[in-house]
Symmetry: C7
Subunit: 75 residues, 7 copies
């Protein structure tokens, strides 16, 4: 993986499936559509997961960046 | 969905019904009327929900952006 | 309701009764007298409420914006 | 009460008795001597109160603005 | 006490004994040697106190401003 | 170790294994690929650990800087 | 001790042993190698301590400034 700056990994993950960990302990899985320097993030086909189980289907979601711990592209 | 920047999804959701998740664990459902770069947000016909039940009807509400986790337009 | 920017709803609510939700779980009800871009807010004839009951009468109050979750004008 | 901007209420309260609510749940009562745009605040003859009882006499105090929920001038 | 701006009270307290209240509930007592606009603060001969008892002697300490609730010069 | 500025230690750790402590109490171990001045950080071959046990394999991860307590290069 | 500005005490402590208190309640002891205006800090030969006992040896560590309560040079 070649990553000069941290946001490069997010650029490479556009239109791919990512796992997003939130500070409230929940996970969201969806297709990464957009993000900005605050890490405000838009997911498509979002599913909320707790302990590996899908708890809600949320469709398109806007996430405020400061609620995000980690974004991990599916490998 | 075509979304260049995260706020595009909110622009597309103007005058549509959205679900807003707050950091205090509550949900608000209402019509998205306005937002700014801080994600300060105005909803119309706002209903507060906990565990899927409407707990309060709030009419028009101004939400301070830093209390918001997620905004999800109804699909 | 016509609201271009989020602060418009607060401008329209000047000298009217509003409900303010604070991050500490309390509610304040009073007449909105002033606010700024940080959402620092001044209320007149403020009453503090918990679970719908008035717990204190506070007169005029200055609220630091970052303690506010939501401001809802009485409709 | 005429208040154009939120800080006007604090300007009018200089040298008067105010109640300050802190994020840690405590109250301070004292004479408002100074404040700035961060709401850093100086009180004179400060008394710390919990549940209406004076728990400590603190004399002059400097309060960091980000610990303040609310400042209410005694009416 | 004449205090035009909040930091004046700290300027007047240089080289004097102050009590510092921290957001973690602890108190530090020491000689105020320096501070800046973030309220980053240096104390000399610092003692940590809980419930009025000295729990540690810390000598010189640098305190990050955002951990401070209150600074009270000994009168 | 010669370190003029704090970020030098991270520069020296590029492409090396690091332990990252998060504010939510978890640890991540992986290869440091990138970071920026906000300490937004990208790890490769990331493993999540709790109490020394690997709890998840996460592959590549983007970490928002404000969730990080500490980054420690493996010596 | 002559300290004009708070960071002077950290400058004087370079290459000396310091105790760092973190907001998560832990202590780190190590040699101060670098810091910046955000109080991002690098320690060498870092030991993590809880209740006076060494719980981990961490070698070199980068600490994000906003997790630090206090830095105290060993006298």
């Amino acid at each position: 993986m070649t990553v000069e700056r941290p946001l490069d990994i997010l650029n490479n993950a556009r239109n791919k499936k990512v796992i997003v960990e939130l500070k409230n302990g929940k996970q969201l899985v969806g297709i990464l559509k957009a993000f900005d320097i605050h890490i405000n993030t838009v997911l498509e086909n979002t599913e909320e997961k707790e302990n590996g189980n899908t708890t809600r289907k949320l469709g398109n979601t806007f996430l405020r960046g400061d609620t995000i711990i980690m974004i991990s592209p599916e490998s």
